[in-house]
Every structure is written in C-alpha cells, then in structure tokens.
Symmetry: C2
Subunit: 501 residues, 2 copies
C-alpha cells in the first residue's frame, strides 16, 4: 500500500491516494481516532481549515467536509468567527481522557520498576516539602512584588537585540564572561575575596552547584561533615551522591570543629553555611574560620562555603568569607541569586580554586551545557549598572523594617518571656520551644488558623532535635505581618506554655 506522505506536517496524519475512501473521509477517520483515543483532548481548538489544507496538501473544501462530518457526529463544535473545537466525549463512550489519566498515575502498580541502584538512592534522598501556603510567616521567600520587573524587561529588551551567534559561540562552558567578571568583582569587594572571573562557574542555582561539587570532589562512601541541623537540600544531594554523612553540631559561633574532629577526624569535604547558618542563624566566627582552613589544609579536605543570605544582615558584621581568608586554595564558594532577585530565575555560581576552574567548567558542560544565556546577559547588565547592589540595599532596609515589626508584634503577644533567635540576619526569626513541645503539631494547628509557623525539628537528621518555630518575614508587607500576628495571637495559649526559658 503506497502512501502519499504528508510533508513535514505538524499533524500526525496520512492520506492514502490509492484508498477507495474519499480524502475527507480519511481525514475525518484519522481525527475521529485521535479524539477517541484521547490524543486530541476535549476543549482543544483545531488549526484553521486553511492551515489544515496547506499542511495536508488538499483543498480547503476537503477539510470543511471532514470537519462537518465530525460536527455531525458530535465530536467537534464550530464557533462562528472563532474556530473549531473538540467536544467532550459523551453517550456510551467511556471518557477516555479521564480514565487514562487515572490509570496512568497509579504509580503503586510498579513501584521503582528497574530503577538503577543510584536512581533508587537519588529518589530516596528526596525530602518532602513542608505542606505550607505562601502566606505569613512562610520562610525562605523574597518579596516577589518588589522585584524590579520593569527595569528587568527593559534590559531584556535591549539585551535580546545583542544576542547573536557570536555570543553563543564565544560563551565558555563556565558562563557568560561579563557576568563572571561582575560576580568576581562583587565578591572581591563585598566578601573580601581575590578571585578572577576564570574561577567563577555559572550554574542554575545552589542545588546544581552542590551536585557538581559532589560529583567532582568526593566518591561514594567518603566522609562529609554536614551541619546538624542543616540545609535539607545539601543533605539530600550529598546523600544522593553516596556521601557518608557526619552530622556536626552548631553553636553560637557556628560549626563546633573540635567536637567534630574528635568524632570524625578525617573529612573529605566540609560543608558550612558560614555567613548565616541555615536555619539557626549563627555566623561562623573568624577564629573558627582560621581553624577550619588550617584543618582542611592538614587533612586534605575541601571546604564548601554556602554563602547563603549574607546580603541580609541587620546587626553586626559578616566576617570575610572563608574563600577570601584562605586565598581560595581549598575552598569552594557558592552563591545564588534566587533569594535576592527571584526564585524563579535560575542562576547561581561556584567559585573554585584556580586549578579547578577548567575541570569544573568542562564537567558543567557535560552535565547541563550552560545556564540560560539571555538571563546571564541581563543579570550581567543589571550588575554592571549597579542595580543589584541598589536592589540588595533596598530590600535589606525593607526586610529590616519587617523584621522589627514582626519582633515587636511577637513581644506584644508573648510578653517579656519571649526569647527569639536568628535575629541578626536573614529572612526568618526563630521562636525556640521547650524540649517537651511538639513543634510539628503546633505548626499543624497554626495552619488551621491560617498562619504558617515552620517547625524547626525536621531540619535535624539525627534523633536529638531541638523544638522551635521559624517565622519568615521577608515576603510580607507590614499589613500582612499584622494579619499574621492577629492569627498567631489566637494560638497564644498553645505556644505560651511551650516557650523555651
């Protein structure tokens, strides 16, 4: 049976010139089959008869006849001046779309069918998100409404005109060179570093940075120091990559290094959210930074410094980054723009020691080519014009005012007994609870009252968990903070007896 091919059609449909069936009937038959099989779902607008006719190389009349046939059959509906739509299947025919969707999502039938061993471990390392809504006081969100979208669109408009094949060709695996220069410059000024743009590798964010670091710097089974409690995303990706995790306690000075050394003497890699421990808020002291560098050099370990949140400091001073202090010899420095611009944009960076720049850039290209070039170009321009620093300064003032309002409101509700922590920096404060409290139960109850209080205990991997509540303030204006406080005040009787003394 010879077939006339439909040249380059976007519609998966063939007409047989030798068939006894007229063309319109063939077309109607194909469409009927596709609709009944659910390949063309109900509600979809079909291409116009003109385009259909061009695609199939037939006259427009043939398409009209085919459509009419299907309209008669109740499968299509034509709206004058609008177009032809696929109707829902009715009367005796099963609703295939719905049935199919139900069958297909029934993942319990073949759980983990033939995944690789590492695939299973990857999936097992995933942690469920807290079931919360983005209302006060859900933490970790910047205020999306404050993002300077008009400026960004203007820069995007200007920049897109400059996007040429040359730029694509010239952009190295490590990222867009002017952006890497801007980042190096920003870090050298604000974080006391002395890196060159060569050392900066652009990623899609901290999570990809951590994945790259994991694959490049340790092998399955290697011991990794990880803060306890700590950033769940880091724990997941290290664990997915086969790390042997050593939980390290954190106090007011940050990572407890002496204690760690006694229990886990030879780490391959040390992870620290040094500027502001996540979630407790401690800043790694200058003295401990020096000890850490000395230690890393002695035992040949890598330091991975997640410089999370250093932009939002309200009290005190952030010490020079570890990367700056050790001259970038054994330190991998991570940063992200998600928290200062928009979580929706996916741009972050890794600053590596000079001799690792080329291997990291190559590896980055193997696993994911490069980050969105146009976003890199716009961000580069944004930084070059000083807009990033201005934006950070503006947000810091805004967040500080919000934090002040939140703390004031909490003191009004809970009287003088309230001891808050994590107030020097960042985007949330913590209400520490007595160890007899159940922070998850309180969070659940709060949710029922329309207010988000995130429990502290899930940040601990081990059995010894501290109880507490995280309250984010960055994403909410003063009015929303007031509303949140009003809702929270209804839980006073629940929380008051549980406050840590």
């Amino acid at each position: 049976m010879s077939k006339t091919a439909v040249t380059g059609s976007l519609i998966d449909l063939q007409i047989d010139p030798n068939s006894a069936l007229p063309k319109y009937q063939q077309i109607a038959g194909h469409l009927r089959g596709a609709i009944e099989a659910g390949r063309i779902p109900a509600g979809i607008k079909l291409p116009s008869t003109r385009i259909f006719a061009e695609e199939l190389g037939v006259s427009r009349n043939v398409i009209l006849q085919a459509f009419d046939r299907l309209i008669d059959e109740g499968l299509l509906s034509s709206r004058i001046g609008d177009g032809t739509y696929v109707l829902a299947l009715v009367l005796g025919k099963p609703d295939l779309v719905a049935v199919e969707s139900k069958t297909l999502t029934a993942s319990e039938h073949y759980p983990f069918r033939s995944l690789s061993r590492r695939g299973k471990s990857l999936v097992a390392s995933a942690t469920d998100a807290f079931p919360e809504r983005p209302t006060a006081f859900m933490p970790d969100l910047p205020d999306l409404r404050e993002f300077p979208i008009k400026t960004w669109l203007r820069l995007l408009n200007e920049t897109s005109g400059r996007l040429r094949g040359e730029i694509l060709a010239d952009t190295s695996n490590a990222g867009y060179e002017p952006l890497r220069r801007s980042i190096a410059h920003h870090l050298n000024i604000s974080r006391g570093m002395t890196c060159t743009s060569d050392q900066v590798i652009i990623t899609t964010g901290s999570q990809q940075s951590l994945d790259l670091v994991s694959r490049m710097l340790f092998d399955p089974g290697d011991p990794i120091w990880l803060e306890e409690p700590g950033y769940v995303g880091a724990r997941s990706i290290f664990s997915a990559n086969g790390a042997s995790l050593c939980p390290i306690a954190v106090d007011e000075q940050g990572l407890c290094i002496e204690e760690a050394l006694a229990r886990h003497p030879s780490p391959r890699l040390i992870f620290t959210s040094s500027s502001r421990h996540y979630p407790l808020g401690a800043t790694l002291s200058l003295r401990r930074r020096s000890v850490l560098i000395e230690l890393a050099s002695r035992c040949g370990a890598w330091i991975v410094e997640d410089d999370y949140d250093h932009e939002f400091r309200y009290v005190g001073h952030t010490p020079t980054s570890i990367h700056g202090l050790d001259g970038g010899q054994r330190t991998i420095h991570l940063g992200t723009f998600s928290k200062i611009l928009l979580p929706s944009f996916r741009l972050g960076y890794v600053v590596v020691p000079p001799d690792l720049a080329e291997p990291f850039a190559k590896a980055r290209a193997v696993v994911d080519r490069h980050a969105s070039l146009i976003e890199q170009m716009v961000l580069s321009e944004f930084m070059h014009r000083g807009l990033l620093v201005a934006h950070i300064r503006r947000m810091r003032n805004l967040y500080r005012a919000r934090q002040v309002r939140l703390i004031g409101g909490l003191r009004d509700i809970f009287d003088n007994g309230l001891r808050l922590s994590a107030t020097d920096t960042g985007m949330h404060v913590i209400i520490p609870l007595d160890q007899s409290a159940d922070d998850q139960a309180i969070a659940k109850k709060a949710m029922e009252h329309g207010v988000v209080l995130r429990p502290l205990s899930p940040y601990y991997a081990g059995r010894q968990k501290r109880q507490g509540l995280l309250l984010g303030f960055s994403a909410y204006n003063l009015e929303e903070i007031e509303q949140g406080l009003t809702r929270l005040s209804r839980l006073k009787m629940t929380i008051d007896p549980m406050l840590a003394i």
Copy 2:
C-alpha cells in the same frame, strides 16, 4: 579590642572606635589595602560618598576626607559630576591584578588535584568543541534573528504580573503544570503519543534530561547501546555516568538492531535519535521501531528516544514516536526547545512511563530544584496560543528554502557528481567524502577561506570513521548562503577529487 560593627554593609570594612587613628584614616587604610590587593580592581566606580557614609554610619565629611587622601596617593580619581574611580597601580608597585590573574589561571601547576574518581571521569568525558565561527555553514544553530522576540517580551510582561508566591508553591518538582499540559497535548497530536501531563518532566534541556536518565536508569558498568556515529553529548554524559558503551552501526533505516544483538545481546538502555539520526539523518523505520520495542520488553531494556529535529522534515513523513508505539511502557522520550526557539533558553523535557513520573520528579528536584519558572510560564502561554506551532511552520518553510538554495548552489559548484545525504530533514546536509579523504584537514583549510565545513569523522567513537562534511543552512539567510557558496567554490579543487562516488 572592641569593634563597632558596620551594619549590613556591602563594603567589607570595619571601623574601630577605640583606635587612635581617626576614622577617615581607618577607612582610607582599608580601601588602600583592598585596592593594593586587587580586591577592588582598577577602573571601578566606588559608591557615592553619601551611600558610603550611610553604610558605615559616619558623616559624609569623613568619607570625603578618606577619598581625598587616596586621591592624593594616586589610588583614586574623582571626576566632577560623575564619581570616584579606582586608578591603575603604577610606579614601583607591581600590577597585582595582572600578576594575580596570570598566577591564578596557571592550571598546569596542580592538574586534577584531589578530584574524585568520578570527577576525573566526568572531566575526561568532556569533548572539545569544534573550533568554528557561527558563519555559513556552521551547523546546529537556529536563526536567532527569526525568534519572535517582540511577542516573547510581551508575553513575559503579561506573565510576570501573574508571578506570585502561590504559583511558586503550587509548581511541582516536575515543572509548571500548564506547560506540562501543553507539551503533552503537542506530543499527542504531533507525535502520536498518549501521554498525560503527569508523565512530562521539565528539564533545562536535553543534556540535563540525559544526565537524569543516566542516573535513574543504569548503574556504572551497565551496557548501553549508542549509535555510531552519534551525538557527542549523549556519549559524554553516558560515559561520565560510568556506562559500558556499545557502539551500534546505523544504516538508511536507522539503528542496525540485528547486528547489534549479535554483538551486545543484553543492553540495559538503548539510545536512539529516531526521528532523524544525528548526524547522518536517517529515520528509524517503523519496522525497526517495532523490533526495538519487542526487544526492549524481552530483555528488560529501556529505550531512550531523543526526538531531536523531528520538527524540520522536508520530505516524507516521520513515523509515530517509539513512545507512542509502545504506549510509553519502556520508552523515555526526550525533547528540547533549543533548536526550535533559541539555544539561549534552557528548557527541555523528558516523558517517562507513568510509574516513573513521581520518582523522576523527585530526583529532578534533588539535583537541580526546577527550571526557570518565568520562562516556563511564558513558553506555556506561547504554546497555548498556538504560537509555537506557527513558529515551527514558519521556520520549516524558511529552512526548506535555505536548504534548496544550498543544495542548488552545491550542485552548481560540484556538477552532477555530487551525492548529498541527510537532505530529508534537519538543519544540515552532508557531503560524503571518499575514505581516502581527510575531512578534518579540509575543514581546517575551509576555515582559512572563511567558510565552515564541519568534519563528519569526529562523530565516530571507534576507529572506523566515515569521511564527510556537514553544512548547516538553518541560521543563514539566502544572501549569507550565497556568500558561503562563493567562498566554498574556491575550495572546489580540494574537495572535488575527494567526493564519494
């Protein structure tokens, strides 16, 4: 020694209130140190004295005094009405910035210092790009000038107003739900598939899709069938993830399955660019698709179908996708928007069997959270309004005209002896050369004549390589193709005797 903290400063600088030195001298000293150490490079504009003063909590006069001191020392320069700039270091002081940059990029000093075993293998799997410029006839590029940037910016403008915390919170690890629906719908109509949006996982592009597939579906040492010649990016990432690669020959019908089975009987995973083999252009026949599905089911292998380039078909018809034919049971279907929209945008997708949807979504979040949400929202809107299909149709017509012009021009230059291949589909054609030719030497010579001819032989992993030249046409308008042909015609004497007969 007690210190007054600099509250939330973006400038890494501290003032000691107990110091005998006046504040302006302390500030000047800090800045001098930073400039001399290269942390603040020459040419940089400093923040205004007003902002500096606010940041440090001192009077503006103190900052003016500090700046004046450094201007006197020749470290800063003040431009009236503009601001204060850092001058290049001169006279007796080493140019630290330059020296540092030289030292730091000297990666030969510690090659591969302490990389992990898998990190070394990751780096070793990277392949060097062809040293070409984006002029005719460099392949693999869409025409960036034809991207509907005005429409895209308009949609971005509209969409960004809708970006709220709710959307971030509601977007699953697998991606933005309306985009996943649009993609499922597009594939069901155009590729004969019957997938639901649940099965669609948004990635940053094919390379990340392949990395995810590798980690999820095979373990180090597992045998993987790979087309020979084939897509270098696939070979890199499979190899980086420890695959035992089995090169499989390709003929006019695509993958030579019988031959492969005889030599490598039990693959764990089979990779095929089925719609259009890259780079040879063959389409996997319908019969072989069935054989492959039967085989995969029998030996428990996964099929990874990279549906690269199926949009640009000029002759004949692309068979229904393997995923469509086997009901998506053992097939992972990959697609990307890089080649139809802009390589700069980083959005692609994986369609997985229903029971793998949840594990893949979880794993995707562990390794890289999610793709840029705002780009997902805009693309979703672009597809929903039928603009993607319209764009593909327009580009296909444009590319077809360009291909016709290129082929016509080549026939004019090389007379009737010329046999071209890969002409049915895609973004390049191939001039097959005699086995005695050296395609890399010809490509090099062509580069000297200002025309890009990409050699075919580097696409082969094994020792048996076919010689040929790839000529891309998609990124060049008719005038540029003419220019390329003129340059190419000067190489007639070099290429003519080498044409395959």
